[in-house]
Symmetry: C2
């Protein structure tokens, strides 16, 4: 008999991780002692990684275009979106080889790009977003120059769930001789059920982050980094003496077989119908929550993907935190609810009731 | 009823990971849906990380000297030794702030330092080892200069299990104004039961890598990075908007609560007596294996820590691999057996029997 979980997701409104799918959990438990970073020794984990990367590639539009037939996909299961984003910057930096590289990101980009800039020694050029909090295309165009190695678009921003104009950003990047990366870490399993242009199928982007351990319902840690072609991945490889295999492209060395196996199992269990159902549910619940808050006179940012950002008024966020709600704030000071699979309408009714108590 | 493990450790002689301790596995399974990278949201995982880091600090000699009293230790549970080594280089680079930083490592250092050099844009100066495969102190001294930010000593080399002269290396580093890092990723749970000078207690080193998921018997992924003082960790911090917490020092973002909880549980179960018993067993088995191979006329490198490197003769390594033995080679072409907890005398008797068949 297993002891209870160390904490519950009941009042977690701040996280982009969630309760894993049972199939993911079962697979993860079996693979806890394996290391896909040593693929010859841990062949079963390596096989599951190939399955996971092929599945992610299909979700991200790499088969419809005939670009990456199954078994010929280029990427790996990372520790999460931060590693994937760092590695996308590193690949572009290594491939372009300019003296003083810079990377252009919208101000809505995840803080992992700031970490990447520090780690990799590249200049980060942060450009404004437009009135609807999407990357301002003119500002992006003005920021790129001959030393730009990568231009980043976000498909599902962390704070407001916005999707940047990816085709336009890709065109600006390529006109400047730079690569284009899309960060769909959180929304990669939601966007296939929307009309947004976000994937390899919609624009000639070069790389993409999509995290199974967020909306993919894998266990932590399981991020995903995909490249359109092998050169993107090859630019990351270092030699690996004393492993049975010859080189390693990941940022970390030993990696989680549990994360890899869980990712493969979750995607097999849920793609596409399970993810579609969850997208539709989360979308409905987020819009309902926004309406409920508006009906209480609160200012709520228009919902696009299922993140609800709202001004709860002075002190309410702190009072709700004191009652055990895990609630984060945007940079502009709005409270932010991420409608993940564990965030149900029932949970939010309780939340609204307590909000009514404290406001 | 759980399905069987995806692969067995029966014939794995190449890995520095092993079957986790049952307490580690149980804890990991409970924490599979937690993220210590978001410590306010996942408070239980953050608490276990503090426990793990305090325990690792004690093992690595940070309490006896009164330098890091419990609750005041500086480090975190990484994804593994590669992340820890990259971060040690990054911290030193950031703290020293020279224009063209270099890092001095012995040629026996793990390939993660080559990865660190590429990632971080530092020059890697690789210096020879002496006749016994330890860092050559004179060569280290000749390689450092005013742009050296870090000098690395290895306590338990990956290929031959050698311990570099850590006090001498620390002195050279500090004379040059550089930091000193010890890589004890593999041997950190063996060295406390030897006479080697390797830890914070033995020399004024600044940082150290010690991996619970290797000889610590935690689940993958669980590495460890420790600093002597808080400034080492602070040099890695980046701001974290839209998390409830304020900054993040890790290289990855989301991290494995399973790895963290498993590490804490393993160390609590095994330190010190369990680890001492395993050290003594592995030492005996490694020396016995070396004797057995010598009695067959093979050249075997002197055993120091429980890695056995031997010339098995033409074709034998390949023939054994064909029979399912996972066996790696050193850069000099010797076969290498890592005597991890799953590598028993019985396993090695079978191995020797099959070696007798193929040689």
């Amino acid at each position: 008999m297993q002891r209870p979980a160390p904490q519950s997701f009941d009042r977690v409104l701040s996280s982009m991780c969630t309760e894993p799918h049972p199939a993911a959990r079962e697979a993860a438990e079996r693979f806890l002692a394996t290391n896909p970073g040593d693929p010859t020794t841990y062949a079963a984990a390596a096989d599951r990684e190939a399955d996971a990367v092929a599945a992610l590639s299909r979700i991200a539009g790499l088969d419809g275009a005939g670009v990456a037939p199954e078994g010929n996909s280029h990427g790996y299961v990372t520790s999460g979106g931060t590693e994937a984003n760092i590695q996308a910057v590193r690949s572009a930096r290594n491939r372009r080889g300019v003296e003083e590289p810079n990377v252009v990101v919208p101000r809505s980009a995840h803080f992992s790009f700031h970490k990447a800039a520090d780690v990799l020694g590249v200049e980060l050029r942060t450009v404004p977003t437009d009135a609807d909090r999407r990357a301002d295309v003119d500002a992006v165009a003005a920021a790129v120059d001959g030393d730009t190695v990568l231009v980043v678009g976000v498909a599902g921003t962390t704070e407001y769930g916005r999707v940047d104009p990816i085709p336009e950003i890709a065109a600006i990047a390529h006109d400047a001789g730079a690569y284009c990366h899309v960060d769909a870490a959180w929304a990669g399993f939601l966007l296939p059920f929307t009309d947004h242009a976000w994937s390899f199928a919609h624009a000639p982007i070069d790389s993409l982050t999509i995290d199974p351990h967020k909306c993919g319902r894998a266990v932590v840690p399981a991020g995903g980094l995909l490249f359109r072609d092998s050169a993107g991945l090859d630019a990351l490889a270092v030699d690996t003496p004393y492993l049975e295999s010859r080189s390693q492209a990941s940022l970390t060395g030993t990696r989680s077989g549990a994360g890899v196996a869980g990712a493969a199992a979750a995607v097999e269990a849920l793609w596409p119908d399970g993810y579609r159902r969850e997208h539709d549910r989360a979308d409905r619940v987020a819009r309902w929550l926004a309406d409920e808050l508006r009906s209480r006179g609160r200012r709520v940012v228009d919902v696009e993907l299922p993140v609800v950002a709202a001004d709860l008024g002075d002190g309410a966020t702190e009072a709700l935190r004191d009652r055990g709600w895990r609630l984060a704030r945007t940079g502009d000071g709005l409270a932010r609810v991420v409608v993940m699979p564990h965030v149900t309408r029932e949970t939010l009714r309780t939340f609204l009731g307590e909000f009514d108590d404290v406001r």
